[in-house]
Symmetry: D2
Subunit: 134 residues, 4 copies
């Protein structure tokens, strides 16, 4: 399967940006969206769903923000730096919030542990990309 | 049809927030998403599409960010203020960027004029909500 | 605010389609997305969340399908009838499924009643548009 | 990074479905969304954008439908077979339509070739999952 990095390299107007850092962030957003949506659904299937309301809530926001961030980052023609920065900052906050919440249920539920990990990786990837955007 | 304001009033755990300002922002995001998607498509149907590339580009980002902002704002159970703020800030930047670009084609194309207006209204609604979030 | 119908009328390549039926379907999708997302969130805030798992589940699918249907319908340049039909059919099924489920909680919860109504209206609007697509 | 297959295996209420076929379809949807969004953006950066209008148009629909299909498939608690089937059928049509269009520009543009491949793989994965859903 074509990697995100190969996808970006076929672009006619690549901005002067580190493709590896960008690709890693796009892939982290994609993985985090999947982990959050799966975690919402798994939480809804648990017996102690009452204890997982906050987790479901932060998962929903995080999935939405990671999806939009992935899509914005995949566009490089005349990318607007202020829009990209704002999106990455919002995504990093949503990932941190969701990771902190999921971590509280990580010992009990594998899906919360997996989701917390995906959120931390995505938060870090957003922050790394924010750094090189200057 | 039920208004957004009525929808929000049926919620069991309404946070202590001005429902009118919140509803107005949700509706402005919805209208802006529609205007941006329609503007992309209308631009693709114009003869001078070459002159509208930047417009299509900013429309796509703005539509994505308004969609996610609308969805995040519709959730009020344990809303996380930092996530809401980050999302609103990113949305306001995307709306401003798109409004500025569409305004340059507003004399030529009705859909760009309509889109610029929807973006300005949405940017203002996001900023108003940011103010009352404190 | 500009209506969806006005938006569509500013398009340079309007297909030969009844703008009123199309606009009504777009607006019904938008209202249904909002009702479903708000219903998920309101359900998560109820004490009897255990009884609402299936409702939350159908709301999530329905919100996603109404969102994509709204976006697909807003594009009229070279619209592909098979894609539009497939999308409308999937949306109508999701709306019917969600309406049936929400109707079971309609006496207990206003948000489920509102959501069931929005789903029924959207299902009907999708079916009407499917009819005129031939 | 956790694979989609591992994600699905941590779910408390796995339906009786072949996790490999399901995971492959989710991953194909994700890859196809990325290829379509990147292809829209790359097309907008090409000199012969006039020749790529139809390609951009089918990419936009296909990206939206693959995104929603990925999200619906990630939910397994009380999955509604009729909704899943309708979504997969719509997605397969969008993928076929987009693959046929992108294939026409595949010799000229690498991003169209990559996108056509991703669409074909996703169409096949949707059809395979439809088969085992019975």
């Amino acid at each position: 399967m074509t990697t995100v990095s190969e996808l970006l390299q076929s672009h006619p107007q690549r901005d002067d940006i580190d493709i590896d850092v960008l690709s890693e962030c796009i892939e982290a957003c994609s993985a985090c969206t999947q982990a959050c949506i799966a975690c919402v659904d798994a939480c809804l299937g648990e017996r102690d769903v009452d204890a997982l309301i906050e987790c479901i809530r932060t998962d929903l926001d995080c999935a939405d923000l990671c999806t939009v961030t992935e899509h914005v980052l995949l566009r490089m023609t005349h990318a607007n730096v202020a829009v990209v920065r704002g999106t990455l900052e919002a995504c990093a906050v949503a990932c941190k919030t969701c990771a902190d919440e999921c971590a509280q249920h990580a010992e009990m539920h594998q899906h919360c542990r997996t989701c917390a990990d995906a959120c931390r990786r995505c938060e870090a990837a957003c922050n790394r990309l924010l750094e090189i955007l200057g």
